[in-house]
């Protein structure tokens, strides 16, 4: 069964995506890295997303190897610059 993952874009990545969020459909068993690959394959500015960005899964820093589950919220995190 495919799963739908809500994906958030911030700062420079949102500028590339042209939108703050997207719903992405992936096959069961997909990992965060598959989500990133799927987005990059959309082409256009999405292709300029880095292949291995920092990511957060449900608001915690995560690994690209983490397996996704239905209802997950994934954020692509550009290099951070607080302070």
């Amino acid at each position: 069964m495919p799963l739908i993952v809500r994906t958030l874009f911030f700062a420079a990545y949102r500028d590339l995506a042209g939108e703050p969020s997207a719903e992405v459909e992936l096959p069961d068993g997909a990992r965060v890295s598959d989500l990133v690959a799927c987005l990059r394959e959309r082409g256009g500015a999405f292709a300029r997303l880095p292949p291995r960005p920092a990511v957060a899964l449900n608001r915690c820093y995560a690994s690209l190897e983490d397996e996704l589950r239905a209802g997950d919220e994934v954020a692509l995190i550009p290099p951070v610059a607080g302070g």
Binding site: A54, R59, C60, Y61, S63, R69, V80, A81, G82, G83
Partner: protein, 150 residues
């Protein structure tokens, strides 16, 4: 007692310092991050801060909790501003008090370094001559991994 928040309104340094007052503490320390008017020789008129707000609130809270545990003081208040700031405005305020100065300096330094390293906040510089750019920041640490499906 410790408090860590993202704010949209201007940060009031005096209120921040007052929030950590403690008669048993001999050291009170205030750190302010301030928007400066130039970067690499280029004039800046302001900075816009953006946050992944839900996560940033959690991460800022975790950083302050770590600082409390490491340094044995729970009198810490941290405010990080988001939105459009002009030159001279305060983007980050860290107030700490502790019995002695060493813990206060250490806690304050720990918090600012961890904010730079892992708080999901971004800044866009706006240049005096026009144009704007996202500041290339620090690559945050990867998480521990979620493990196998339950």
């Amino acid at each position: 007692m410790a408090r860590a928040v993202l704010v949209r309104e201007p940060i009031d340094p005096a209120r921040l310092l007052a929030s950590v007052e403690d008669d048993a503490h001999g050291a009170a320390l205030l750190f302010l991050g301030v928007v400066r008017d130039h970067v690499a020789g280029r004039a800046v008129r302001g900075i816009r801060y953006e946050a992944y707000e839900e996560m940033a609130a959690d991460v800022l809270g975790a950083i302050v909790t770590e600082a409390c545990r490491l340094l044995g003081t729970d009198r810490i208040t941290v405010e990080h501003r988001v939105g459009a700031l002009a030159v001279g405005e305060v983007s980050l305020g860290i107030a700490v008090s502790s019995p002695h100065r060493a813990e206060a300096y250490d806690a304050s330094r720990y918090i600012i370094e961890e904010v730079k390293r892992r708080l999901p906040v971004w800044k866009q510089e706006r240049y005096a001559e026009g144009g704007e750019a996202w500041v290339e920041g620090a690559l945050p640490p990867a998480g521990p991994g979620r493990g196998p499906r339950p």
